[in-house]
Symmetry: C2
Subunit: 292 residues, 2 copies
């Protein structure tokens, strides 16, 4: 069979498979699966996928499935490391003047979070460089959004989330609520870069292609308020070695922030505050009515 | 963000992900993964995949992985029902004048098979319409291939393989060896159509899109001989209701055979042979040197 004959036979097969979905009652399911078939078939033809490569792929998917349980989602890691999650994020959260860009949720969000008063220290037992965070949540035209919930979670100084360290639940994660000026503040520690879980099939894939598993240091924020799209994003710490090679492609320039060095001193209550870093950031929420 | 901006941002993301594989030491792995990323990203953009559809896909893949064990390979069923297995088969087994076309292996081949003498009845405890099969294995220019091994397996009159019925192992499956004229023969029963295992995620997918899970009646053959490509194929029984809607797209016109009605009579040894069906088929093997 010539390459031309293969292409013609393959096209006929692809069309036969596409046609098999023609009777799907749900037109959206039909559209998605027909498109998936066309793209998957085009991939196999483009690379002339061998039988043994197909077997390897079946084995990889099977191991990926077996790695998944209620604490580990290896298919999300696969989607993340192939840039697929960030693409779906881009498709569904188009940017708008005056609003904060979105990025991936990640696997370490564990709702519900306990609401804490402004100024709380969320570091708990975690040691590290103290960090004071203040933030304001605004509409696209700069008006404060009061009473928005603001969920915050981050890794510790070793690059681990509380859920990865048994007994440290609700460390470095909390919910705050904005005041009348749309503001909130809390104490934490400076997060550090960390590897995505890489002891499974996805980690093996990264190793096989010479990619590291690290994410640059960041703090997760999820911000919600009736009438606005819920914002899922991170703030990345400027200067991190992995800002330009995030294992999950989550970095956007707008989300990189500088920390300020603050000298030791006394606060309004006359308490001694040691030297620390500070971060002040403004978030913009997108009105729900402005759906694209 | 306009659709144009999304496309431009998405293309930049895709190229960033593709570039992340540039340092893979294995050039083939790099090629395959870079192509996969491009095609998967194009798919998500084409259909504007929503967050909830992405979540559904992650859940579907996870369930598919959890369905896999040493007796059940749900990812192969998924590949089969998306026509992906037949496409990979077409890519790797290009047809050639005088050779038999290939089709999928399927999940019910269980080597090694016990070698049986010509004329054996492989039906065992299975009831059904008696079928006499005779076959000859030839080179592309019609010369007999002696001493080839010929593995045969098929479903019973209810559409089940022996491995699906505990205690019936080595029923309706056997290995034969061709004689000096490239011939073999055996007794069996006429197979019937059957559903692929459809109590898992793939079965749910088929149901959701209005597809049935049936495969038309067929007998599996795998034929091997040093110096020739091992042939993996089926013979499909003409007249089956599902010939034109095989759940795994495995049917090729060349592989559809007619059964002949044979009246009762006496064989060469003077034994009474009841009315039965017969099938006589010629297989052509492809010399291994003729690799494409």
């Amino acid at each position: 069979m010539t390459a031309q004959t293969l292409k013609s036979d393959a096209n006929a097969l692809t069309e036969e498979v596409v046609a098999s979905f023609a009777n799907a009652e749900n037109p959206r399911l039909r559209e998605v699966l027909q498109s998936l078939v066309r793209h998957l078939h085009a991939f196999a033809l483009d690379v002339n996928l061998s039988m043994s490569e197909w077997e390897t792929a079946i084995g990889f998917l099977t191991q990926t499935g077996h790695m998944c349980d209620d604490k580990r989602q290896e298919f999300i890691l696969l989607s993340d490391t192939l840039g697929f999650s960030m693409l779906v994020d881009a498709i569904n959260h188009r940017s708008m003047e005056g609003t904060t860009e979105t990025t991936v949720l990640g696997p370490f969000y564990v709702p519900p979070l306990k609401e804490r008063p402004h100024g709380s220290d969320i570091a708990g037992a975690s040691q590290g460089t103290p960090l004071h965070v203040s933030a304001q949540v605004l509409t696209p035209d700069g008006k404060p959004i009061a009473d928005a919930w603001v969920d915050v979670w981050q890794s510790d100084d070793d690059g681990y989330y509380d859920v990865q360290k048994p007994g440290q639940e609700e460390n470095l994660r909390a919910r705050f609520r904005t005041d009348a000026e749309g503001r909130l503040s809390f104490w934490s520690i400076v997060p550090t870069f960390y590897p995505i879980p890489h002891d499974g099939p996805v980690g093996k894939m990264l190793e096989a292609v010479g990619r590291h598993p690290y994410r640059p240091a960041h703090i997760h924020f999820m911000i919600g308020k009736d009438g606005y799209d819920t914002l899922v994003t991170h703030l990345f710490i400027a200067g991190d070695d992995y800002l330009h090679s995030d294992a999950v492609f989550g970095v956007k320039e707008q989300l990189i922030v500088n920390l300020t060095d603050e000298e030791a001193g006394w606060n309004a209550s006359g308490e001694r505050i040691g030297a620390h870093k500070s971060l002040d950031h403004t978030f913009g929420l997108r009105p729900a009515a402005a759906a694209s």
